[in-house]
Amino acid sequence: MTHFELSDAELEQRFQQRIDDEQKIEPKDWMPAAYRKNLIRQISQHAHSEVIGMQPEGNWLSRAPTLQRKMILLAKVQDEGGHGLYLYSAAETLGASREEMVDALHEGRAKYASIFNYPTLTWADIGTIGWLVDGAAIVNQISLQRTSYGPYARAMVRICKEESFHQRQGYESLIALVNGSDEQKAMAQDALNRWWWPSLMMFGPHDADSAHSGQSMKWKIKRKSNDSLRQDFVDQTVPQADFLGLHIPDEELKWNEERGHYDFGEIDWEEFARVVNGDGMCNRDRVRHHKKAQDDGAWVRDALRAYEQKKRANAEKAA
């Protein structure tokens, strides 16, 4: 419980040994300041992604084509809010405060998955997000179930259990579209055309260009590299697109017998950088809306607090 006899170097060596032995790090353990900082950055940005991700889908809640689809979408958006909570809580075990994390989001110091800076133009976008965006998130999050920080790993287990619903409902709604009218099928193809590349971008830069990857892998915060996760995603998704009879918008995409993987074309990294750095189609809207939701809800929180204070004051008076 006390570390007064050990130098930082010794502590760090023990810490790394624990990670090398596949043991989890728990909140009260000694950890290098950079590990803590790196985790807070990653977990809070993961949380922001869940919460900001509610916006493009929420856009279609009032216009879902049937009551059933509306209830499903509402349940999914509700799940995303819950996922944000699990993750914020995991970050709070590291000493980060919720207010500071949200401020960082509002001030542009913290990022979130840049895919949510693309607009949802048609109903087919909703099915496609479930299929591709949640599909990509699952690939990433399955590997994060083995991350070295205990609370993060446990949040991932909980989240992965719920994500499967998200992806399946999306894919099922696309099956309905591709079996519908020509217009509906075209709408599904158009959605795939727009969401395919941003989905691949979700895995981040190439391993060689990834700022935090090396250290994160050594600390086992990340378990698989960006490029290998992206490959997993492509390999599992191509047969799903084939089944729908939809065409993936990449002329270089083809099965490579020798590698046992699909080869695919190069991402437009200029677009990636532009959207990550704030200049996507919806960046300003997303943050503005999040801020507004928070500001608009302030009176509710204030009222709850005032009522609680009044109750306590009355109880004290009675006592």
Binding site: Q68, F165, Y171, E172, P239, Q240, F243
Partner: protein, 96 residues
């Protein structure tokens, strides 16, 4: 027994292994939380059952009641579409 001499009740949670959640194992009386921690060590981890112990004042726990379960959980009972297996997908891609 004199009411005043009854020590407060603590609920004990133990993490059996790194990476797992703390799990409720029982309760005990103690004067304060430090003492509760030592008692818990003596009572619940004599055979190295845990790597971490949480002690929580029982009076600090607010719990839902099983008798109220039907109304408390009612909002989620009629939403089968929240479950992944509600969506029937064709065999070739059913491993999603």
């Amino acid at each position: 027994m004199n009411q005043k001499n009854i020590l407060p009740l603590y609920e004990i949670f133990i993490r059996s292994k790194r990476g797992l959640d703390h799990k409720h194992v029982g309760s005990l009386h103690a004067e304060n939380s430090e003492q509760a921690l030592e008692y818990a060590r003596d009572v619940y981890t004599r055979r190295s059952e845990g790597v971490s112990i949480w002690v929580v004042l029982a009076s600090d726990i607010t719990a839902s009641q099983e008798e109220d379960a039907s109304s408390f959980y009612d909002p989620s009972d009629d939403k089968p579409y929240r479950h992944a297996m509600h969506y029937v997908l064709p065999e070739p891609i059913n491993n999603m």
